[in-house]
């Protein structure tokens, strides 16, 4: 039985701006549910630089990114937000009554009256190398951008490309699973963890894998299914290698992800908004923080906070077109509560 959640505003992205939106919504008695693909709240602040000090949060001469997230979580506690963490919103549907139905990767269903996209940099997705025909062999036809299930590669001939940690780690791991492993690296040395690099060298010396340095995979061949790749050396020499699977592992890069397919007006991979209330081209859907764009946009946490406040005002009017919105000062109304 899939989990179904009902709320006023579904906030996509649990970064600082998404979290502060819960506060601003709470002042207007709007309930929020927050979804994030990462397993913990805080977005890039928790995931990438929790120990970095931030110096441009008003009122904090210096605060660690991780502490800012902790403080925001404490600040929104009185409003009892609910969370779905570690799941990505995939499907998006506007219903006839103007409300929305969202589905996550893990089948969680969220029904909400308004959507606030606070997706930051987007989601981190595999970087694709510039190889001719790459897309033709995606989707089970031989090209894999990540190793989801190592067993899939059992007794298959594979070629891995890349020089980072994941290329080294998977080469070492799959050496015992696949029937034939070739690692292609454009350089001559590896910057990845020294012990993984050493292990790869040893496997190559023992003949358990093939290590092809100073080379790139340049062409893919096959009729409907990947059959051969061309590996070209930096000196221009090329050779063709038969294989079942090609696994390019070139790290992750932030991409807009599924949000890009919801029919919202975009510009340069960011969601275009009206700065009146940070509404997108689709009524009831708002975008705040690093994911949006408008003339004069600054990607700053403090600007995202401002956007969150105005967004909630717009969402309130969308949800309750007949109710009169009044600005609430916390100094007048006392400690926040729901």
């Amino acid at each position: 039985m899939p989990n179904t959640i009902s709320t006023d505003i579904c906030i996509i992205g649990a970064g600082p701006v998404g979290l502060f939106a819960v506060f601003e919504a709470g002042l207007l008695k709007l309930r929020c549910h927050v979804v994030d693909a990462l397993p913990q709240p805080g977005g890039q602040l928790s995931e990438i630089y929790p120990k970095k000090p931030i110096y441009d949060i008003p009122g904090f001469p210096e605060i660690l990114a991780g502490d800012l997230v902790d403080n925001l979580m404490k600040q929104i506690e009185p409003f009892h937000p609910t969370f779905t963490l570690g799941e990505r919103v995939e499907q998006f549907k506007k219903l006839d009554d103007g409300s929305f139905q969202l589905h996550t990767t893990d089948g969680t269903e969220i029904h909400c009256k308004a959507v606030a996209i606070a997706g930051g940099l987007g989601s981190f997705e595999p970087r694709k190398p510039a190889v001719e025909n790459l897309e033709r062999f995606e989707g089970g036809k031989g090209v894999h951008y990540m190793v989801r299930d190592p067993e899939y590669f059992r007794d298959r001939k594979i070629v891995i490309a890349g020089g980072g940690d994941s290329a080294l780690d998977w080469t070492n791991f799959l050496a015992n699973v696949a029937s034939d492993v070739t690692l292609v690296h454009r350089g001559t040395t590896f910057r990845g963890a020294a012990d993984s690099a050493e292990k790869v060298q040893k496997l190559a010396e023992a003949g358990k894998i093939k290590l092809v340095l100073s080379s790139n995979v340049t062409h893919l061949h096959g009729n409907g299914k990947l059959a051969e790749v061309t590996i070209t050396g930096n000196d221009g020499t090329a050779k063709t290698v038969p294989l079942d699977c090609f696994i390019p592992l070139f790290g992750l890069t932030p991409k807009l992800g599924p949000i890009g397919e919801w029919g919202l007006e975009l510009e340069n991979d960011a969601v275009k908004v009206n700065t009146m209330d940070y509404s997108t081209s689709l009524p009831g859907v708002y975008a705040i923080g690093d994911i949006n764009t408008y003339p004069g946009k600054l990607k700053l946490i403090l600007c995202g906070f401002h956007e969150a406040a105005l967004m909630c005002q717009g969402a309130f009017k969308y949800i309750f077109p007949d109710k009169k919105y009044t600005l609430k000062y916390t100094t007048v109304n006392g400690a926040p509560s729901m």
Binding site: L121, R127, P129, V131, G162, G163, G187, R191, K299
Partner: protein, 108 residues
């Protein structure tokens, strides 16, 4: 106020475009390129996380060594050149006067 510096961007056709960059604003090369209208995503905003501001340094003064973060990010790219750098990690200063770069952000 410090002097402005000159940065040259080599275009596809081979000609070089001169950009004037201030050195008293703590700007990175990425920010100058973006402000000059070059099509650079700079998704991560300058944290050496996305490599969409990848440039190839063709000539000019010696630059400070790249940080480990920058080298790690460059390492993951499918294609790099001898002078590959992340332009967000290059600060404009009198030491970068006369730098010649080419945009290289493909496959990111």
């Amino acid at each position: 106020m410090e002097e402005d510096i000159r940065i040259y961007v080599e275009e596809a056709a081979g000609q070089r475009t001169e950009l004037i960059g201030p050195t008293d604003m703590g700007l990175s090369l990425m920010e100058l390129l973006k402000a000059s209208g070059y099509d650079i995503q700079a998704t991560c905003g300058g944290m050496a996380l996305c490599a969409t501001c990848h440039v190839e340094v063709l000539a000019g003064p010696a630059l400070p060594e790249p940080s480990d973060d920058e080298l790690d990010m460059l390492e993951t790219l499918p294609m790099v050149h001898e002078g590959s750098r992340l332009s967000c990690q290059i600060r404009l200063s009198p030491r970068t006067d006369g730098l010649v770069v080419r945009l290289a952000a493909t496959g990111a």
